[in-house]
């Protein structure tokens, strides 16, 4: 009887695995079939005739490379700036005392509760009056600004667990708060910073709506929007779309597989909000 249940459980899990992974496999196969029909027939796809034509075409069409580079630029810059600003702010909350500190922190927390998409309209008007629409500065500013509250919350907890004696060791040697920050807190929080970096990078890489709203010039747009462009007004060349999609998700999947543990931790960590 025992064995029966064991097999049953394994069966259920394997079916689940299939349901979860099969769409990706099908997508991969579609992208590898030749460019024949716009909606490839399942017979064709499963026939095993592989070709990389779609990938070559996707890469060379529609300024795809430009979009890819743009995304790399935006995602990495966002990550660097977000980490920089958030860690400083977190350090301020963790190791300084000043009036209204908790009130301010609660304000930060409050901004986390509001779903990002709701704010996009007034944010757009703010950017517009600052003349930052359709500029990278504007997009980066918005990405970084939105993420600060959450990152600060995450890092503050981490910083507060670092023993204060280490601070004093720097003070004795005549260092300033800045030195403490630079030489103690930053190096010690590498794992937390790494987790945040992964989270920020993939968030910025996949981000769709703010990029769609803020960037108007074709040449400046990012990957998710480029993917949408592959959908024609008439019929869609699915092989092409998925070749492009796979190129777009490969960096993230790679990072995920390599840094698996941190990824999972970051989304179960304190205060992370799904959505």
């Amino acid at each position: 009887m025992r064995t029966f249940w064991k097999i049953a459980v394994y069966l259920v899990l394997i079916i689940g695995l299939f349901v979860v992974l099969a769409p990706f496999v099908y997508m991969l196969l579609t992208s590898l079939t030749g460019v024949a029909y716009t909606l490839p027939r399942p017979d064709e796809i499963l026939s095993g005739n592989l070709s990389f034509d779609n990938y070559l075409e996707a890469w060379s069409r529609n300024n795809f490379q430009q979009y890819f580079l743009n995304s790399i630029f935006v995602a990495s810059t966002t990550t660097v700036f977000a980490l920089f600003f958030s860690s400083m702010t977190a350090y301020a909350f963790a190791r300084f005392e000043f009036p209204l500190k908790e009130l301010l922190f609660r304000l930060f927390l409050f901004t986390m509760m509001v779903p990002g998409v709701l704010n996009i309209i007034p944010q757009f008007t703010v950017l517009k009056s600052l003349g930052l629409v359709d500029t990278y500065r504007g997009l980066l500013l918005l990405y970084v600004g939105i993420g600060i509250a959450g990152n600060t919350f995450f890092l503050r907890g981490f910083f507060e667990r670092i023993p204060r004696e280490l601070d004093e060791s720097v003070i004795i040697d005549g260092g300033s708060k800045w030195t403490i920050y630079r030489r103690i807190y930053l190096p010690l929080s590498k794992p937390a910073l790494g987790t945040l970096a992964i989270f920020t990078f993939s968030g910025a890489w996949d981000e769709f709506f703010i990029a769609l709203t803020v960037m108007k010039t074709e040449a400046k747009r990012t990957l998710p929007i480029a993917l949408q462009l592959f959908q024609g007004q008439h019929a869609t060349d699915w092989g092409l779309v998925f070749a492009a999609s796979i190129i777009a998700i490969i960096p993230i999947i790679l990072i995920f597989i390599i840094f698996q543990k941190s990824f999972v931790q970051s989304s179960t960590g304190e205060g992370a909000i799904k959505g």
Partner: protein, 363 residues
């Protein structure tokens, strides 16, 4: 044209500057009257020691306290300034401005020409049949996907957690892949899988191979089948997240309770109902809140799979709001919708937070 832009940029800067200066003044005023709870006791004692006469003692204390506070602000400012500024300008100010905008018929090209219309945007919301439809779709989405993700997620987590499963990491990673894949890509994927005609994969399987249907379904052309596609995507994508959190929580449950239950003759189902579920209550609450908030934010999959179609029947609150703003450039109306949505979500979060706060499980 340049002068025009400078005039408007100046306007915004003046607004922000005014807000900050008044905020700063209020802060200084307020804390010269508030007794500080924390602060540096040593310094305070020193200050108290230095007070000579009793009549000027109070004034001196206030002065010294303000000096202390000013010093504290001065030393923290370089670290705090940039982050705080960014959040204030890009998140807090838009929140306030959003509410402000909702009372206007907002003119995005010439904001100064916006006409004040009071609560007209709000009353329009209550009379708009499309809003009702969007609300219905959003609520349906929550009602279907939240339990769907939760039930399947916790089920899978419990299964994977079983002792005899050796490939835990493999399963965990695999189920988590949809979670980390971009919404854009999975939206296209599902649109493709559920394509009309007999060559969409789902139709192919159900109609050609399994002969469960009498004809292939036009998934995205009909209201309810389109909604089903969106729901399935939501569940499919979220199950891994629920599973991962439960897996972590399950690892931390004490084994001896289960052994005791086994000795008492409980079977797996009984143990699950009376042991596992109650012990997991805090985790469950956390998950349900996040699933709820996430489900109210349904947007991108609707936008990319059906674009609200057919004929606006699958529109959800956020997609409708976005269209009002960026397609019909009715920013005022869209802002009113966003304000109401914000209030709704805030209320849900608030009530759940109260429930969450009271749960404390000891073992």
């Amino acid at each position: 044209m340049i002068g025009y832009r400078q005039r408007f940029a100046g306007n915004l800067f003046h607004n922000i500057l005014f807000t900050f200066v008044s905020f700063f003044i209020i802060v200084c005023l307020v804390d010269s009257f508030i007794r500080p709870e924390k602060g540096v006791p040593v310094l305070q004692k020193k200050i108290a020691k230095n007070i000579r006469s009793k009549s000027s003692a109070y004034l001196k204390r206030i002065k010294a306290r303000s000096r202390l506070h000013f010093k504290q602000w001065w030393s923290v400012l370089p670290f705090l300034l940039l982050g705080f500024l960014a959040v204030a300008v890009l998140v807090v100010y838009p929140l306030i401005k959003g509410v402000y905008m909702s009372f206007f018929e907002y003119n995005i090209l010439f904001p100064k020409l916006s006409t004040f219309i009071g609560v007209e945007n709000y009353s329009r919301i209550f009379h708009d049949p499309k809003i009702l439809l969007a609300l219905r779709n959003t609520l349906l989405y929550s009602l279907v996907t939240v339990p769907g993700q939760w039930i399947i997620g916790i089920f899978i987590a419990v299964l994977i957690n079983a002792q005899f499963i050796k490939q835990k990491i493999l399963f965990r990673t695999a189920f988590y892949i949809p979670v980390i894949t971009s919404w854009v890509v999975v939206s296209f994927l599902f649109r493709y899988l559920f394509a009309d005609g007999k060559y969409g994969l789902i139709n192919f399987i159900l109609y050609e191979k399994l002969h469960l249907l009498s004809q292939p379904i036009s998934w995205l052309q009909n209201e309810w089948t389109a909604l089903i596609v969106i729901w399935l995507l939501g569940i499919w994508k979220g199950v891994g997240w629920v599973m991962v959190i439960y897996l972590a929580a399950l690892q931390s449950l004490p084994r001896n309770l289960y052994e005791a239950a086994e000795i008492d003759g409980a079977n797996a189902v009984k143990m699950f109902r009376h042991l596992t579920l109650p012990l997991l209550k805090p985790t469950t609450l956390f998950i349900i809140i996040n699933l709820l908030i996430g489900s109210f934010n349904v947007f991108i999959q609707v936008f990319l799979i059906t674009d609200g179609g057919p004929m606006g029947k699958t529109e959800v609150l956020l997609s409708y709001m976005y269209k009002q703003a960026f397609k019909f450039t009715d920013f005022g109306y869209a802002s009113a919708i966003s304000v109401l949505m914000g209030v709704l979500i805030f209320l849900i979060t608030w009530t759940q937070q109260k429930a969450l706060g009271k749960e404390k499980i000891e073992f």
